[in-house]
């Protein structure tokens, strides 16, 4: 991880006044928006395009927001783990811890008019799009206050007003939907883009190539993002894919391989991608990331990989730790302040869970609502 003091001295001059202030008794957490330039962990690997620069512009406020957002997501997923084991969450529960940098970095480079569509590992993406912890836990526990009124479940989170289109259970099926979102954006001449996320397992689906062809043919403003966590449930990528270079799979479509555990790299790549597709048509981003949990709560996650591998990634590449080191290294906050933030987050999450636990289940009549719009057709005749 390259700290900025290894690169230009320009940033050092900016830091000096802060460093001087640090020696005083009480310094508040930096909410400064003074630009900071930080290098990504590794350079981007391009396919048929010019990669963006490794130097990412950010600022203390943004870094601390990254920390807070990712820590909230991490805490939320761990809490969901406990709730599942307590049988309050049932069915399927796919957790995103380890991959937080992808959705947080993405959000930092786009707005709510851009669309995001993803598969079933969607809790954190939903949170990033503006969802609340209460909505999330209520939906996971099947309560009527959930974002889908308790009728969708873990794999069906949506937030139409913030451009979050789900939340899909069938592997790969969300990518053609993403093409449709991009098509509508082009149809309406929106100047917005769509991010269609899928995993390394879904990358082998035929419909992906169909969608790729269509998007490239019609210059749709779509960014296909492969969240490569190296395992399709229990099958490692080398056992499922002849070519593990998912960013090259587009052939005629340019691609970029990104360190998905580095939130700044993700932010840079998504910013670059958005500018690219609005001019040149689709691009593929491969996010090299990792999930600490198994595929879902029914999968221990240790039968197909070693515990050493998991803890190795956690020690060396954890996205939150990376940001923590950045923040501490640039003196943007103290160790204690970060710990306080984490405590605060823990409290928030616990409160949301407590509230969701006592919230009501959906009414029985809800079984028949929203099948059709305005209820037509469900029961035409009562004898």
């Amino acid at each position: 991880m390259a700290l900025s003091h290894l690169s230009s001295t320009r940033s050092n001059r900016l830091l000096r006044p802060l460093a001087a202030a640090a020696s005083s008794l009480c310094r508040p957490i930096s909410t400064s928006t003074e630009p900071l330039v930080i290098e990504t962990s590794i350079p981007f690997t391009p396919h048929k395009c010019e990669p963006p620069s490794r130097s990412v512009e950010t600022n203390p406020q943004e870094l601390l927001t990254f920390f807070r957002d990712m820590a909230t997501m991490r805490r939320m997923e761990i809490a969901a783990d406990s709730l599942y084991k307590a049988k309050l969450i049932r069915g399927f529960c796919h957790l995103y811890d380890g991959q937080e940098a992808v959705c947080v970095g993405m959000e930092a480079s786009i707005n709510k008019k851009d669309c995001i569509i993803t598969a079933y590992r969607d809790h954190c993406t939903f949170l990033g799009r503006g969802g609340t912890l209460l909505e999330i836990f209520s939906e996971l526990m099947g309560r009527q206050g959930g974002c889908s009124k308790g009728k969708g479940g873990s794999m069906h989170f949506y937030k139409k007003e913030s451009g979050f289109y789900g939340g899909h259970g069938i592997v790969g099926a969300q990518v053609p939907l993403g093409c449709g979102l991009a098509f509508a954006q082009k149809y309406n001449k929106d100047e917005n883009v769509t991010f269609a996320l899928y995993g390394d397992g879904a990358a082998n689906q035929g419909q992906l190539f169909e969608a790729l062809n269509i998007s490239a043919l019609w210059d749709l403003p779509i960014i296909l993002v492969c969240e490569n966590n190296h395992y399709g449930m229990g099958t490692a990528e080398w056992r499922a894919a002849k070519s593990p270079s998912y960013y090259k799979r587009g052939d005629y479509v340019p691609g970029l391989k990104v360190d998905g555990m580095d939130v700044l790299a993700v932010k840079q790549a998504c910013k670059f991608a958005k500018e690219h597709v609005l001019k040149n048509g689709p691009i593929i981003l491969e996010m090299d990331t990792y999930r600490y949990h198994g595929h879902s709560m029914s999968d221990p996650g240790s039968t197909y990989r070693t515990r050493d591998e998991i803890s190795g990634v956690r020690q060396e590449r954890d996205p939150i730790e990376r940001v923590r080191k950045l923040v501490l290294g640039h003196d943007l906050a103290t160790e204690k302040e970060l710990k306080d933030i984490e405590k605060e987050i823990r409290k928030e999450v616990d409160e949301a869970i407590a509230k969701a636990k006592v919230s009501p289940m959906p009414e029985p009549s809800e079984l028949f609502t929203n099948v059709y719009v305005k209820g037509f057709g469900t029961e035409v005749f009562h004898s």
Partner: protein
């Protein structure tokens, strides 16, 4: 009654004694307009009456519930005057196109996507000329990727566009079954009502003239269980245009089943704008002795059999159910209560077809009114063979219908 359609190339003139046009009085009513839109649209009931069930008030209320927002109405004195206009003659595929074009003119969110719908003009000419008029983005030629372009249509519908996805043959949509079932049908529910999917999926299906097994499928039997979709089948130029327009205006996903052999049917349809109710069945020929329920091409086999039956002294009531999901049990129920005998004639296979579901639905709701068990004539449970003679044995022929009625009415 209509003469039987003879072949793909021929045009069949339809002289209809029970033609919906003739017997209709245009319905003038100030019905609740769900969409809140003001239109000068006229609702045409197929039998011209307001209250199908003149009995209980519950029936009248039921009738109210059948009105959809696709059938926004407004009392319009001008409509009565226009009833005397002769209208214009066209073929069924032209009627579909007319409906489509009118809706595309009316709302620029409406777009068409499918294979060869644009520059080629559509493999059955339904979209001919539309690409020139509306441009490539509104009439979109897709690659051969049903899964992807159906999914694309659904994704576009999620944002508010109103796409019409054409399957060149309904059978090809099997490749898009996942998209149709999970995303098209269920997204409204799983998102807690956030997304509506106002998509129309249409295309020709059914048994044609020796097209072979894979091109002679009846997808309505596979799709009928998908919750959240509506299915309609058109059978005349009149209802083809009306159902197309209603389907496009509906906020629900609608699958419109056309038939390969019916595209060249000719009929005179009104000049003024009209739409047909998506959930309503069509009374083709009122009668007293037996209720014959049918849809799509089998309607014509039934009407041919009806000619023979009338000569033999029977009085069949023929209803084209049109709405395959949900069934119009109101119209059907009233007919059953009148005749007490039901014959279903369908093109689906015996197992798991529309007829099977309809038999169950009628038995559950109207068992007390039946004097005899329901008879369902369906196609054989076989892949449709290529040889002409074998293909004829696969589907229900008029002679079989006559025999069945005679047996039921003993």
């Amino acid at each position: 009654m209509a003469t039987v359609f003879q072949g793909l190339g021929a045009t069949a003139a339809i002289t209809a004694a029970a033609n919906p046009l003739d017997s209709n009085k245009f319905l003038l009513s100030s019905r609740r307009s769900f969409s809140g839109k003001k239109t000068s649209l006229v609702v045409v009931r197929s039998d011209g009456s307001l209250n199908l069930n003149t009995g209980s008030s519950a029936g009248a209320r039921r009738l109210d519930q059948l009105v959809t927002n696709a059938v926004a109405t407004k009392a319009d004195a001008a409509a009565a005057a226009s009833a005397s206009k002769p209208g214009h003659e066209l073929l069924l595929y032209e009627a579909l196109r007319e409906g489509l074009e009118e809706e595309m003119d009316r709302d620029n969110r409406v777009c068409v996507m499918g294979e060869d719908v644009g520059h080629y003009g559509g493999s059955y000419k339904v979209t001919r000329g539309l690409a020139d008029k509306f441009g490539d983005l509104r009439v979109l030629d897709t690659p051969i990727a049903e899964n992807a372009f159906t999914g694309m249509g659904i994704g576009a519908a999620m944002t508010g566009l109103r796409p019409i996805v054409e399957g060149m043959n309904m059978g090809f949509l099997l490749l898009a079954f996942n998209q149709i079932s999970n995303n098209c049908g269920m997204l409204h529910y799983t998102s807690g009502g956030q997304f509506t999917i106002p998509i129309v999926i249409r295309g020709p299906g059914g048994v044609g003239r020796q097209l072979g097994a894979e091109h002679s499928q009846r997808l309505e039997s596979y799709f009928q269980s998908i919750p959240g979709i509506q299915m309609v089948a058109c059978s005349t130029p009149y209802n083809a245009k009306g159902l197309m327009k209603a389907a496009i205006r509906s906020e629900n996903p609608v699958i419109l089943f056309e038939h390969v052999l019916l595209y060249n049917l000719k009929e005179r349809i009104p000049d003024e704008e009209y739409i047909c109710n998506l959930e309503e069945a069509e009374m083709v020929r009122p009668g007293e002795h037996i209720t014959i329920l049918t849809y799509s091409r089998m309607r014509y086999h039934v009407m041919q059999a009806a000619k023979t039956l009338v000569n033999k002294g029977y009085d069949p009531e023929v209803i084209d159910i049109r709405s395959l999901k949900p069934f119009d049990l109101h119209t059907i129920g009233n007919s059953v209560k009148k005749t007490h005998r039901v014959l279903i004639v369908e093109e689906c296979m015996r197992t798991g077809g529309i007829g099977a579901s309809l038999t169950a639905a009628i038995n559950e709701n109207f068992i007390d009114y039946l004097d005899a068990p329901i008879v369902c004539l369906s196609s054989q449970d076989v892949p449709t063979p290529y040889a002409g003679t074998l293909e004829e044995f696969t589907i229900v022929q008029p002679a079989q219908i006559v025999t069945a009625v005679e047996q039921l009415c003993q």
